[in-house]
Symmetry: C2
């Protein structure tokens, strides 16, 4: 990458960072290209050089957030954890990102507002569901849990349960109790899946 394109990439990132803060706080309708241009110091011309419309910025944020580990938890990345430990790490990682990563928070809010945004977002959940199903198979292969009757259903249900815990914690406490509720969720759900030594996987 030469100096000019490095600078251009840096500007694009700065625009996405500022836009994430705005989208996360004010939602899609409450955020304008003008504000993003001003707060990023890029100016309207440069913003529009990188993104034709506000909806393009929204798509870039959503795509970026959901392609990131721990959602994707890429198989080719030689992840250290396997099976149950990887499930726990993935759930804790996503939960942490919901609280701490403004781009993920922006993406979640944008996806929630999808019906007022004139673009098609990448389908949420399905990648993570498939990954969960795979990790459950791994856990069976490694003898951590007994075989399950339907891995796709379990992967679907695990992600849906996480989604509900996240959503409920957000509405009732602004995600204040999310870490505690996520640990509760795993302590309730992992035994159901046949995990015996809970302490081993959930212990600090």
């Amino acid at each position: 990458m030469n100096a000019a394109s490095a600078k251009s990439a840096e500007t694009r990132e700065r625009i996405l960072g500022v836009a994430s803060v705005e989208f996360a706080e004010r939602g899609y309708a409450g955020t304008s290209i003008g504000t993003i241009a001003e707060k990023s110091g890029a100016g309207k011309g440069l913003v529009q050089y990188h993104f034709k419309a506000k909806s393009d910025i929204a798509v870039a944020i959503v795509r970026g957030a959901f392609s990131k580990a721990p959602f994707a938890n890429p198989l080719d990345g030689g992840a250290e954890a396997r099976g149950v430990a990887a499930i726990v790490a993935s759930i804790r990682g996503v939960s942490g990102a919901f609280r701490d990563d403004v781009r993920v928070r922006a993406a979640v809010r944008l996806v929630r507002e999808y019906d007022v945004i004139p673009v098609t977002f990448p389908t949420p959940y399905v990648g993570w569901m498939a990954r969960m199903a795979e990790l459950l198979r791994e856990a069976v292969d490694d003898g951590e849990i007994p075989p399950l009757s339907d891995y796709d259903v379990e992967g679907w249900h695990l992600v849906a349960t996480f989604t509900g815990v996240q959503e409920t914690s957000q509405r009732l406490t602004g995600r204040h109790d999310l870490p505690e509720r996520i640990e509760q969720m795993m302590a309730l759900q992992l035994p159901r899946l046949g995990v015996r030594d809970l302490e081993r996987y959930l212990g600090a």
Copy 2:
């Protein structure tokens, strides 16, 4: 109720019915008092006689939807079902309402859009959570399940799980697979709570 107030109550209901269809389809921002006045045939004057602002209509719909059985499942109503059977009936009832009752669908969308609506909605979930905790205690009293370690946590978690299943089904299939996913959810979660004879409670 005299004829005039019966007619007035009927007009109010008609306004709420029309507004529910609009809110459910177009969201809060996409719905105007003008359209509600026109489609209900009430005219702007009458609409504003009943509701000072669009946000008052939204609050009335949300309040009405969440005070209804099966969310509330009132204790004084002499409900036929108890314990596990009542939990199953309540979950199926709420799930059915999400699909079939346009006022509930409107309420759910309005609550989802709460951050762009300038009013305070009644807090969602908590009434249903308390009711679930109570039904779990009933199930223990009736010998249907063994004692649980924390009824409030279980009530919270059950409602959060339902919420996630609902939300996920809505996003991925427009609630097309909701009935099936809800039955799956109960088949996975009830044994976790110690329900043994699943067929007895979930059988058609």
